[in-house]
Structure formats: C-alpha cells, structure tokens
Amino acid sequence: MAAPPEPRRPATGSSRWHWLLIVPVVVPLLVFLYNSKDPYLFGFPRFYWLQLAFILLGVATTTLVYQLTRKRG
C-alpha cells in the first residue's frame, strides 16, 4: 500500500505555453502604466479604464493558452 504508484503514461498538458500566463499576472501590477488621469476615455480617467482593459488582456492570454494546449490535454 505504501509503494508509490507506477508511472503510467507520459505527462501531457504541462506545456511551455503556460509561461505566457505570466503576462496577465505581471502587467496589472505595473502601477506606472496606469497611475495617471490622462488620457480620459468615455469620461473615465486612465487609472480606471486601463485597468478595466487589462481584463481583456487576461482573457486574450488565457484563451490563447487554452487553445494552444487543448489537444495535448
């Protein structure tokens, strides 16, 4: 019972494309990118609209990685 199970099939699904996910983790933490009021967009200061825009960056990246790693698990 205490013996570790034998390896069965080679690892799938761990892919170097996952490293891309670092981008949407790091970019929202770079305060200097967005800590300003100008330019305004639809009445929103940059601080607010740009951080909301990072949501799109996150979605784009995770979607890309999902598609790239899909067949491999």
């Binding site: 069965r8 690892a11 699904g13 761990s14 929202p28 009021k37 929103f44 949501i55």
Partner: protein, 539 residues
C-alpha cells in the same frame, strides 16, 4: 417604514423563490445515492462548463464584494480599486495551478486541499494544519456574507436580527438536504439578478447623475487633499501586494477548491478561466458604485460604511427595482455562504473526523458528518454576527486572508514540486503565521481608534526607514504578502537543514503524471476511490 413595503415584498418573494429551488436541487441531476461525500459535497464531480462557471462566479463574487468593494472606494478612493487587478490576476493563476489540483484529486479521489497535502507531503501534521487553517479562515468569510445581508436589511429598515436568523435557517436547511447542488442551482438566479441590477445601475445611475465625468469629478473633489483618485508613493506597494496576495489567497480558500473539484474535466476549468470577462468587468463597475455614491451624496446609515450601496440603490431606483437589487445582494450572500459551509464541513470530515476519530468511516457516514458540520458552521456564523460587532468580523476576514496564504507552500508549491521537506513546510507555516499575526496586531485602526488589528496595510516604518531603499516614508505593504515570503524562506532553509541532517522525509503518494491526468483515466493503482494511504511514520 411604510415607504419600504414594495422593496420588502419584492425581496421576500425572490428569496422564497430561491429557497424553493434550494430544496428542489436535491432532485436535480439526481444521483443514485446522496449518502456519499462526492455527491453531497462535490455535486457528483459532474458539473460541466455552464454550471462550473456560475458556481465559481458564486464563489468569487460574493455579497460582501458587492457591498464592501464600493464602500472601500467610497471611503479610500483609488486604493479600493485593487479588486480589478486582483480579478485579472486570479484567472491565469487558477488556470495554471488549480487544473493540476483537479487532475491529482481526480486520480486519487481527494475532496479537500488537505487530502492532497496529506498524500503529497506524507505529513499528517501538515495536512491537519492546512485543514484547521482552512476552517478558521473560512468561518469569518461566511460571517461576512451576513454583513452583506445586514447592510441590505438596514437600508430597508427591517430589524436585521430576526430576518438574518430566518434567512440562515432556510439556507442551512436546504444545504443540509441538497448539498453543493443547492448553491450550484441558485447561482443561476443569483448571477442573472446581479447582472440585471448592475447593468441597469451603470447605465441608469450615471445618466441620472449627469454622466461618468460628473461622477469622477465628485470623487476628485472629495479626495482633493490627497489626490486620492490615483495612487501615491505611500500606498502603491500596498495596492500591488494586496492585489497579488489576495489573488494567491483566493484559490487557497477551501471553497474555491470545492468549486473547481466539482467540475467534470480539466477542459471545463480551462474553458471557464478563459471566459470570465463578464464577471471581472462587473466587479470593476461594481467598485465604481462607490464613486457614484459620492456623486449622489449618499450618507451611510450610522457609521456602517457598508450600507452605501444599498442606500444608493434605495435613493436612485424606483421602489420595485430597489427590491430586486436588494434581493440580488442577499441571494449573492447565500450562494457563497452555502459553498463555504460545505467546504469547511468537508475539511472537518475528511481531515479531522476521519483522520483522527474514525479512520474507517464509510462514505455514507462521511456525508452525514459533513451535513451536520455544515449546520454547525452556519449556526456559528450567525452567532458570530449577532454577538460580535460587524467591524470585528471584517478584521477577522483580513486575518483569514493572511492565514490562508500560509498554506501556499504546502498546497500550491506542492502541486509543482516535492522539493520542500515536510518539516520545512510545517516550520514555514508556523513562521509565516506568527509573523503575519504579529504584524496585524501592530496595525492601528484610524477610524475606530483601536490600537490593533486595524487593517492589512503594514507601515514599513515600524521596521526600518523606507526612504533608505527609495520608498515613501509612509509606504505600506500587505501583511499576507510579507508573511508568505517569510514562510517560503523558512521552508527553504529548514528543508536544506533537514536534507543535510538526513531527516526522513514523508512518502509522496502521487506520481508526476497524476498532475496532468484528465477525465476518463483510471484511478491511481492501489488508491482507488477515496482511500487515503496509511499514515507515514512521523519521526
């Protein structure tokens, strides 16, 4: 009182509707038996994309979020907007990390993060620490959901005490009966209502207030003295570390893990993590309700800053729609409260009851114990709110975030590498916990004039002169972030010492390919079903 009747009637009707759904949920996707923890506690591990999406949304965006995040912007300006970078960061992290947890749990039949730690590190001590940390961190989180309901009740001028007790009694009853299926089903209603309310709010309220620029102007005026609608060099590090630390903490919470483990396959989780913009945008726009409240000159009820969103709705919306909005917030509290209670109950059952009292408990017995524990957890949460100042529960929630982060090396790092020694994990946990609590103890609360546990922003000047490393003299940092760094450092150092001293390490019961396994694969040899390995020798 009389002018709130329409609101109360509408909110009550919607509450009754979801309560009915909660009881009916036991028949939904009916299992052959409910008397198994996989069924009661994980909804049969069968949820597809749609349900998982709503369930995880129900986990992540709670009533407290709707109430407290705008209150933070209302009171503190830009610093409160940290919720947006947080929500961006959290999805890639879940995408990469929690799918591995899903895979290994699928292979080995793990129900809780502590089950995983037990098998991976071979340390029953570390597993117990993870379980206890999870339960302790979740309790105030459940209590906070009640704070959300309480804020709504106050805005309707209803006596909160009895209404809260009734709401939670109903919630406890249908969770007891239906398990995770109840919040999963109700999450549909909750999210539909929340979307409706927020979409109406962000179009209708700015229109009534004269446009978004008026709203931002009002906020600029309020925070003029500090230029508080932007960050400054004193709070930018707090902003960044809080966003990052909260994202790390979120997926360590047992209830997020429950939501993820209930899904059917890796693909379901991955698809979900790449399609959350609706939620994240929603959260950002909800946060801005705080500025709308400034522009609308909302006054909080008493000293309770959490009432500003309900009061804003009450002022701006027609009565009937305010009722819908209040119901949305209240139902938004019930869904996560149910999932959290289930997660805490599963931890108790699997990692305390079964581990220490009844090692050979049958699945039916586990399910029964979990059901009863979930009742106890909810009674505890109600008592908590009724007997203790709500402010105290918010402080406890801050502590909860800091302590749950201390399970990061055992759970999240453990998903990637087995390098850390089991004693290193235990020592790191203890060190991070001690440092975190000590730092929190030293933070005064400016508003209530309490000397301790006043927030999660630690002034670095208490330790050294921040200007010596180029930071603002008043720079603050998120306690959890500092504590978890210290935790990792201690874990690494103790691991090196243990290796040098040739201290015996625990047996790892998982194999490398367990972490990438998908649905359809056979369970691990010798570990079929939910049998855990025998305890490894601890010395």
């Amino acid at each position: 009182m009389s002018n709130h009747v329409t609101e109360i009637v509408i909110a009550t009707l919607l509450f009754l509707l979801v309560s009915g759904m909660g009881f009916w949920a036991a028949r939904w996707r009916r299992p052959s038996t409910m008397a198994h923890l996989n069924e009661w506690g994980l909804g049969g591990r069968s949820f597809g994309s749609w349900i998982t999406w709503f369930l995880i949304g129900g986990d992540l965006y709670t009533a407290y979020t709707f109430v407290a995040v705008p209150a933070l912007l209302f009171g503190a300006g830009a610093a409160g907007f940290f919720a947006v970078p947080y929500t961006v960061i959290v999805y890639p992290l879940v995408f990469a990390v929690l799918v591995r947890l899903w895979s290994v749990s699928h292979r080995h039949g793990f129900v809780t993060p502590a089950d995983f730690v037990r098998a991976r590190s071979g340390s029953s001590t570390m597993a117990l620490l993870v379980a206890v940390t999870g339960i302790v961190a979740t309790m105030p989180y459940i209590a906070l959901q009640l704070v959300g309901i309480e804020a709504v009740l106050k805005a309707m001028h209803v006596n909160p005490t009895w209404a809260l007790i009734i709401a939670f009694a109903v919630l406890a009853a249908y969770t007891y009966q239906s398990g995770l299926r109840a919040p999963a089903l109700i999450a549909f209603v909750k999210d539909s209502l929340i979307y409706l309310v927020i979409i109406v709010a962000i179009i209708y309220i700015p229109y009534k207030l004269g446009g978004w620029h008026k709203i931002f102007d009002a906020a600029d005026t309020k925070f003029k003295a500090t230029n508080g609608t932007l960050l400054n060099s004193a709070n930018e590090w707090q902003y960044v570390t809080l966003a990052f630390g909260s994202a790390l903490a979120l997926f360590l919470y047992p209830h997020s893990v429950t939501g993820v483990l209930a899904s059917r396959s890796r693909g379901v989780i991955k698809r979900n993590m790449s399609a959350p913009p609706a939620y994240s945008f929603l959260l950002g726009l909800i946060a801005l309700l705080g500025y709308m409240a400034i522009a609308a000159k909302v006054k909080p009820i008493g000293t309770d800053g959490n009432t500003i969103v309900p009061v804003l709705f009450d002022q701006m919306f027609p009565q009937w729609f305010a009722g819908v909005a209040f119901a949305a917030v209240a139902i938004g509290a019930l869904v996560p409260a149910a999932i959290m209670a289930i997660a805490a109950a599963n931890l108790f059952t699997r990692n305390i009851y079964r581990e220490y009292f009844r090692p050979h408990a049958e699945p039916a017995e586990e399910a029964t114990v979990s059901k009863i524990t979930s009742l106890a957890v909810k009674v505890g949460a109600v008592l908590f709110i009724l007997l203790i100042n709500p402010q105290f529960s918010i402080d406890l929630q801050l502590i909860g975030g800091v302590i749950i982060l201390q399970t990061l090396p055992a759970v999240a790092i453990g998903l990637y590498t087995r390098w850390l020694h089991r004693w290193g994990l235990v020592a790191g946990w203890a060190a991070g916990m001690a440092l975190g609590l000590w730092m929190l103890y030293q933070i005064p609360n400016a508003a209530t004039k309490h000397a301790h546990f006043g927030g999660s922003a630690f002034p670095l000047s208490k330790w050294f002169d921040p200007t010596s490393i180029g930071l603002n003299a008043k720079a603050t940092m998120y306690v959890g972030f500092v504590a978890v760094l210290f935790n990792i450092l201690v874990a690494v150092v103790v691991t090196l010492i243990c290796r040098a001293a040739k201290a015996p390490d625990g047996v790892d019961m998982t194999a490398p390919d367990d972490y990438t396994a998908d649905a359809g694969g056979e369970p691990a040899a010798g570990l079929a079903g939910d049998q855990l390995p025998e305890p490894a020798p601890t010395t």
